[in-house]
Symmetry: C2
């Protein structure tokens, strides 16, 4: 959750993506994999993973970097598949055409598949000297990504006649935040159980901030069209609580997250980082628009 | 490659699929995952994996069963995604509507994603007591599935202006056969290196048999429309060599596969199985149609 962690994440993602480009990968697939991963968004999930590993006492761990990168690869895969015409039919992502618009639908389908595979391959390579930790990390990634409790299952709730809203959000947003806290602890060789709740609360806070940004932000700030929740009649915390109520809810969630940080060498460091992250998710300049 | 192995594979697949259905999986996703896996086709890749493990001296290994199931899950995932409208637009598979026809395109997309994740999750669960073997198995699965050298990359060659035919087939068909031989050896705790070549040769033989069956078989025998290679102008070994030439090529590949079986406790058993498998791939009754 600081600049140094940012470059470690980009470097770890670079290593993973490069491994796809060697040995005669079909050129359009290779280009599209890179396009889907770079340049990234806020990289909030991998930054969280690195912060937790550091909080657990592993400040410079190659294992944490690989775990963080794999979590981001799963996130990128879900964005590419969610943007496809059969789901959101999104034309833009991160201020550029989405992958299926920049390439085509077939390539976008395969990019998502390749990134899911790469996420597992990447940790398997990195944990060569720590086989006992690999199993937990693979299971944490799989649980967050697949069915019944991961982002794929979350997305599948859009295909049912009725969608249980809390469950939908818990899976679509919360699952990878839990993977980030649990994965950070696992990479440090620490029991991940007490770290789950922190991931759940931060995932919820992130979703609330996302709802608020959709209302207050501009297309350029978001990297995609703003006000889509209202257009698509998507459930939004702002609809339920109003902007001021949603902001209060966000702040309460951040406080709750702060309070559930487990005892660890870097607990104080993590509390400071969470406050910084909260300001980053909902900058004061954005909130001033409520009054305007 | 006998009936007993068949029921062990179905049981291992059942365990994997059931793990997706618990804990409130969206019902249509759960039903579609099951539909994509059961009833299966010939299960040739997982049977090969079990046979190699048995040949290496692990006749009743739960590790081999899980590895075999994961290879089949990756195969099922690739069938579901290849059948989608943006690729083959296939209406039928295994004598039933394809997944996107029986459910819808969105569900089929998510089923493929979920099965890829499940393949890795399934081996991670099974290898809990053998962490040192898990890394190799995850890497073998990922290499066979992803980019640059797996089935995703093979499928991506369809999206290029020119497709290098041998490479395309090596990745689309051969990669999972290599995963089967390598995975079987790894599950038995044996160095997998000498087993790669056997997988490559069997994958090639299988592809030739597939080309021949497409010409000689009926829709019902194939579980999908026959004669599609000619209709779609797909490259086919029969086009290049004629039916008789293709059959001779197939027989030469099976002989070559037989000759490269590494020294192992069950080498003789494996040679007998390969001959049986060859007759199963190209039954005498089918070949009689050449003359008719």
């Amino acid at each position: 959750m600081k600049n140094a962690s940012g470059s470690r994440i980009e470097q770890a993602l670079e290593v993973a993506v490069e491994s796809c480009e060697s040995l005669g990968c079909p050129p359009r697939l290779a280009a599209a994999i890179r396009y889907a991963v770079f340049p990234g968004g806020a990289r909030i999930r991998p930054r969280l993973c690195l912060a937790i590993a550091a909080g657990c006492g592993e400040a410079q761990s190659a294992l944490a970097e690989a775990t963080a990168a794999s979590i981001e690869l799963l996130h990128c895969a879900s964005l590419v598949h969610d943007d496809l015409p059969c789901f959101d039919d999104a034309e833009f992502r991160r201020n550029r055409p989405s992958v299926h618009r920049a390439f085509d639908e077939r390539i976008a389908l395969l990019v998502g598949d390749a990134l899911i595979v790469l996420a597992f391959q990447n940790v398997a390579r990195a944990y060569a000297q720590h086989p006992a930790r690999l199993q937990g990390v693979v299971l944490a990634l799989a649980r967050a990504a697949g069915a019944p409790g991961g982002i794929v299952a979350g997305q599948a709730w859009e295909c049912e006649e009725t969608t249980p809203l809390e469950e939908y959000r818990r899976l679509k947003t919360g699952a990878l935040f839990v993977a980030a806290t649990v994965g950070g602890a696992l990479s440090a060789g620490v029991d991940p159980t007490p770290w789950r709740e922190l991931g759940e609360r931060l995932g919820e806070a992130y979703q609330v901030a996302d709802d608020i940004r959709d209302v207050l932000g501009t297309d350029v700030e978001l990297g995609k069209p703003a006000h889509r929740d209202a257009e698509l009649l998507r459930p939004s915390c702002v609809n339920e609580l109003g902007v001021a109520g949603a902001v209060a809810h966000f702040e309460a969630l951040i406080r709750a997250a702060n309070e559930c940080i487990p005892d660890c060498p870097g607990a104080e460091f993590l509390r400071d980082l969470l406050d910084l992250e909260a300001q980053r998710l909902l900058p004061a300049a954005l909130l001033e628009r409520v009054a305007a």
